[in-house]
Amino acid sequence: MHRQTLAALSRGLAERRHSSVELTRHFLDRIAAHDPGLNSFITVTTESALTSAAEADKRRSAGEAGPLLGLPLAHKDIFCTTGVRTSCGSRMLDNFVSPYESAVTARLAAAGMVMLGKTNMDEFAMGSSNETSFYGPVKNPWDTTRVPGGSSGGSAAAVAARLAPAATGTDTGGSIRQPAALCNLTGIKPTYGRVSRWGMIAYASSLDQGGPMAQTAEDCALLLSAMSGHDPRDSTSLAEPVPDYTATLGDGLQGLRIGLPKQFFGAGLDAGTERCVREAIAVLEKLGARVIDVDLPNLDLSVPAYYVIAPAEASSNLSRYDGVRFGHRCANPQDLTDLYERSRSEGFGAEVKRRILVGTYALSAGYYDAYYLKAQQVRRLIRDDFVRAFRDVDVIAGPVSPTTAFRLGEKTSDPLAMYLADIYTLAVNLAGVPGMSVPCGFDGGLPVGLQLIGNYFSEGKLLNVAHRYQQETGWHTRIPEAYA
């Protein structure tokens, strides 16, 4: 059963070939058998999963027939889930049992989906390798000496090893797309504001966006249709209507204009990755697409702009962890300052502290204009590059990550090298446009992802292009041998 997509499992439920309880048990058994070697879950919710599965089976017997009813999935441990520990990968929230439910998990639960558990992640979503987690690194199922990517590394590894048929992720600077690329999954970061951030623990609020990570574009379409929509509790949530993303998956690609920015194919891009990406673009051309050169002249400024804006917002967002209302509190505080400083210093890991310090500096008196305002101005230049490019093309294509999965520990001693590897993903968040990762080949036995970027609210188009590509290719169907 675990070799099937969500869409196939959904048909199986509709045709009574399996029940939700059977499906859920199967995946829980796989988690018990395989996760000790991967560390992709922080919490497995066995009991509540079986209860929700029985509930879904009952709803189906009563005549309900939604496409997601009774399908299991895993949630990134950044989404608050009532009565279940929501750690965000941090010691700070190791004891935090959420008193409320995030919009994303509530929507998927209402559609009848069954939560298998909460997946591992970089601490507070700050990282690109899942090595900053308080709960230890996640291993890449394609090669357990390598990273799965991050920050949604647990979600990526769990789905790649088929311990869950799909998972949720969040993407602030590439955290859905890069782990999807490194683990051979299909993942989409929607337009900023498309998916409610309510109950999704904040890292950098003007960049954070939730989205699905799954085996196919079709599965992403099913999930995104259910996750999206206006939410008055999130002041940046947009009121645009949500189309049925599955309805346009099969549209033809005749005349589709694909933009190739030269900045995506310059120095630093691994030759094997470039070969796979170019072959994928050739497949799209065969399907009727036309390739056009576009220019994103400020792309290389996305790294410095991001590493001012994201830490600045993080330093503000993470000031809520004060050891008073929830989260970790140090033992025997001497006074209030000691309570704050020791609780925070014990609760946060090194990378989180680093970003808080950078952000605090960028926002402090005398530096605010030079760093934060400057970065926001550059952000507009980057955004305008995309607006201009999308006058001439329908989608932009390129790599997700400059290399395939790197080795565990390879970049932990040099945070800057890790930051620079985010070069192809950060600009998408700064501009707020949607972007996705689609499996497009292997280099040295490791998966490579094709990035597709669209104009605001063009998720349907991206999923359509990815789906048609997946009708022609089989990369996305590959499963690492040890987990087949």
């Binding site: 900023y192 504001g193 003007s206 008055p232 002041s235 400024l301 410095p304 209030l336 925070r344 400057k374």
Partner: protein, 95 residues
């Protein structure tokens, strides 16, 4: 720009983080290298460019000033480290 260890101490205090003496040199070096990378922004001509805070330039929506939240104090205080009679406990602030 290069930070000094006393700059780091000041920033850490603003962020209510303590950086131990043992960590100070390393943290200073790491922050200096990050700020060095970020300093590339200074060379960009941004004269007349409006800062972008929200990618869609959206403004904050307004709603009617009505009470919509229910009282869930007990639920929220269940996750607090120390409470008494509905109050959060902290070390003595006023002598």
């Amino acid at each position: 720009m290069a930070l000094t260890e006393s700059d780091v101490e000041k920033i850490a205090h603003l962020a209510r983080l303590s950086v131990t003496e043992r960590e100070r040199a390393e943290v200073t070096a790491r922050l200096t290298s990050i700020l060095g990378m970020v300093d590339r922004l200074q060379a960009v001509d941004t004269a007349g460019v409006e800062p972008l805070a929200h990618p869609l330039d959206a403004t904050q929506p307004l709603r009617a000033d009505l009470v919509t939240e229910t009282d869930r104090r007990d639920d929220y205080q269940r996750v607090a480290p120390a409470v008494e009679n509905g109050l959060f406990l902290v070390p003595k602030v006023i002598e």
